[in-house]
């Protein structure tokens, strides 16, 4: 930590997990070969599933749209490679269910050139046209949430967004995709910022980067084009700074109201990788067909950042990175908020930022859970200033509605700080997830 780090901005509360980024942060992004078969789930974003517009047996070229949006909060899908649509059927998804997916068999001799798309004049588009143009690219939040980006661009009537925040915090341990994107594609990030600033009508933009990525801060500062009101702000290293509510608090001191949108606080927050894709794809009128993923963890011989076609089977991707088959735990996303995969027969989707592979010896055996000693460590850690201790007690009693009505369960975004600091090893976040799932179910019934 540098000497002036105390002067840098940050948000109150939060935790400092070990970063574990050394093994991948200095490695340039490399492209992974194409797998023989790919699978594109129609629901890899939040919102309505996409609707396929190809038939079984149809030939598709790389970059061609293969599914159209199923509504406004939905995005199209594009063919990640040239090949033939084998079938459209149910297949396991990363949430642990089965969902309709397009199975693609690649032509081995295809050049895999992107033959689809035509340059378009961005400056001639109105903000409204920009929203639909961004929807057509199929870009979603690439920081993990996979929320359709164009929906954030459509600012609700009566609200004004004055500042666009670009999120380059990457506070999750192990992950370095955003770091590499900031170093390698600063121009695309600036192009993306220019587009989203115009779409939401913002006067300025701030890129928030944690100070463990000072090389990225420098690179971005060099790349800001003349006349574009963008500042790059280094932030103190703390988890979960990359959550949009925390970032708005850290950079601007603004609080996004409970149950409200970032637009209520006059901000719009985008991940830097998302901006880079918007900036790259929109002028070319192309779709999102690949993304940078951190493949890392002690279980891989060649950890690094890889540019991987969406729909690539995870097993294939991991084997390319030196995965030997001996595995204890595979985490999709970072270790704090990511989900453990139950199978490697899953395709890469738009929301997967990284894959962490642990060997059996790296994973601690389950710890004994003790009763809550009311030490208050979780209250100190919770960035949303909730009372995880009290929520945990209610969860164990099954009082899920009480948690929602009196203790603001819905404001919890499951960052995991409370579980991380709990000396009694209480899996608080899992309790909260269960409570939320049961509350959702009851409100439906």
């Amino acid at each position: 930590m540098s000497a002036n780090s105390a002067a840098l901005k940050t948000f109150p509360h939060g935790v400092h997990p070990r970063e574990c980024k050394e093994s991948t942060e200095a490695k340039a992004t490399r492209r992974l070969p194409f797998a023989d078969e790919m699978r594109i789930p129609l629901s890899q974003h939040l919102g309505a599933p996409a609707k396929p517009i190809v038939r079984e047996g149809q030939e598709v070229v790389r970059g061609e749209p293969i599914a159209e949006p199923g509504g406004f909060v939905s995005v199209p899908m594009h063919a990640p490679a040239t090949g033939v649509v084998e079938r459209i059927a149910l297949a396991p998804d990363h949430r642990g269910g089965m969902s309709p997916s397009i199975f693609l068999r690649l032509y081995p001799s295809a050049s895999q050139e992107i033959l689809y798309g035509a340059p378009q004049d961005i400056d001639g588009l109105s903000p409204k046209e920009l929203v639909s143009a961004v929807q057509a690219t199929g870009v979603v939040g690439l920081g993990g949430a996979a929320f359709p980006t164009h929906v954030k661009l459509a600012v609700p009537e009566g609200k004004h967004v004055d500042t666009v925040i670009a999120n380059g915090c990457e506070c999750e341990p192990y992950l370095t995709t955003d770091h590499r994107v900031m170093l390698e594609q600063p121009g695309h990030i600036m192009d993306g910022l220019r587009i989203v600033m115009r779409a939401v009508g913002a006067e300025r933009a701030i890129i928030g980067v944690e100070e463990n990525k000072l090389d990225a801060v420098e690179k971005l500062r060099e790349s800001v084009p003349a006349g574009l009101p963008v500042t790059v702000e280094p932030l103190r290293v703390k988890y979960p700074q990359g959550a949009e509510k925390m970032l708005a608090k850290a950079l601007l001191g603004r609080e996004i109201p409970s149950g409200g949108l970032p637009a209520d606080a006059g901000v719009a927050v985008f991940n830097v990788a998302t901006l880079a894709q918007v900036g790259d794809l929109l002028p070319k009128h192309q779709g999102l067909i690949e993304r940078v993923v951190t493949l890392t963890g002690p279980g891989l011989a060649r950890p690094g950042n890889y540019l991987i076609a969406l729909g690539t089977p995870l097993r294939f991707a991991l084997e390319q990175a030196g995965f030997d088959g001996h595995v204890s735990q595979v985490i999709l996303g970072g270790p704090m908020m990511g989900a453990t995969a139950a199978s490697l027969d899953l395709p890469l989707t738009k929301g997967i930022t990284g894959i962490v592979v642990m060997r059996p010896e790296d994973v601690l055996p389950p710890k004994k859970i003790y009763p809550c000693i009311k030490c208050g460590a979780c209250l100190e850690a919770c960035p949303m200033r909730l009372n995880p201790s009290r929520l945990g007690v209610l969860a164990r009693k099954g009082m899920f509605q009480e948690m929602d009505e009196r203790f603001h369960l819905r404001d919890c975004f499951e960052c995991g700080c409370c579980s991380y600091v709990c000396p009694a090893n209480i899996p608080l976040v899992q309790h909260f997830r269960i409570a939320k799932a049961q509350n959702r179910k009851r409100s439906v019934k």
């Binding site: 149910l90 396991p92 642990g96 089965m98 490697l344 389950p366 899996p427």
Partner: protein, 281 residues
């Protein structure tokens, strides 16, 4: 002080007269004859509301399926109405994939709760529709009607089940549903996988082969999305003939004496021990 006491006493006495609300004493009598479980299976918020409905004549006493039928008869004779036919309803589980027949692909560690496991990549069971066997339904059942079998499947004691719906809400895979006991034909599977794909994950899965649908009279059974579905509006056509040719025993006949009966051609499962953690990840 004495004056104040007298004033308040008089006020209370007057209020007692003027503001008195008449309540039919039979409501208390009827309530005393009900089980008092407040399970809600009759559709009212509790036994008191049910008793009020009985006295008002809007509900037939027989609608309480939890109560001893003799008690319902005495309620009916007290009120001078017909007891009415309320058929007993029970919770039924649409899965037969215990640990001895269904593969587990990944080991779940964490809170012993099906809902918790289901939120982590579905819980690690090969069949994404199947029972996770951690017993959330047993925990929420206030009547002790659900016990977990050695194979890790919940078994419903129909005598104790009040059809209160708690297990239906608790199950993250939505495997429970409430049915009248006369619904004897039952598909104990929810897998939408077909053929060998279904069998690869569970030996007793419905493969969607369609034999039951072919053997069933009328449109009693149909295959929808690779799963046999019984149309209970045609329940009077149901017979044990429908299940005879089922190769896996996914469609069963629930007999009140003999319990769950599989068809003659269903493969015999003699294995009792759990299958190993399958094929790794």
């Amino acid at each position: 002080m004495l004056g104040l006491g007298v004033i308040l006493a008089v006020t209370l006495a007057v209020a007692n007269r003027k503001l008195h609300v008449y309540e039919d004493p039979r409501i208390d009598q009827v309530e005393a004859m009900l089980p008092g479980a407040n399970c809600g299976a009759c559709g009212t918020p509790g036994c008191r509301a049910f008793a009020e409905g009985c006295v008002a004549g809007s509900i037939a006493p027989g609608k309480c399926t939890v109560n001893d039928p003799a008690n319902n008869e005495s309620i009916a004779s007290l009120l001078g109405v017909d007891a009415g036919a309320g058929e007993k309803r029970v919770a039924r589980l649409a899965c037969a994939g215990g640990r001895h027949v269904a593969w587990t692909r990944a080991q779940y560690e964490g809170i012993r709760s099906c809902q918790g496991a289901a939120l982590i990549s579905g819980g690690g069971k090969g069949c994404v529709w199947g029972c996770l066997g951690l017993g959330d339904c047993q925990t929420v059942c206030e009547f002790g009607a659900i016990t977990m079998s050695d194979a890790g499947l919940p078994v419903v004691d129909e005598a104790l089940c009040t059809a209160c719906n708690a297990c239906v809400v608790a199950c993250p895979k939505d495997l429970f549903s409430i049915h009248p006991v006369s619904h004897r034909l039952w598909v104990a599977c929810k897998s939408l996988a077909q053929g060998d794909e279904a069998l690869a994950e569970c030996e007793v899965a419905c493969t969607g082969c369609g034999r039951c649908a072919a053997d069933a009279p009328g449109d009693l059974v149909s295959i929808e999305n690779g799963l046999a579905v019984v149309d209970y509006s045609k329940n009077r056509l149901a017979s044990q003939k429908v299940i005879q040719r089922c190769p896996t025993g996914a469609i069963v006949w629930i007999d009140d004496q003999r319990g769950v009966v599989k068809g003659g051609q269903a493969k015999r499962i003699t294995r009792k021990s759990p299958l190993p953690l399958g094929k790794g990840v």
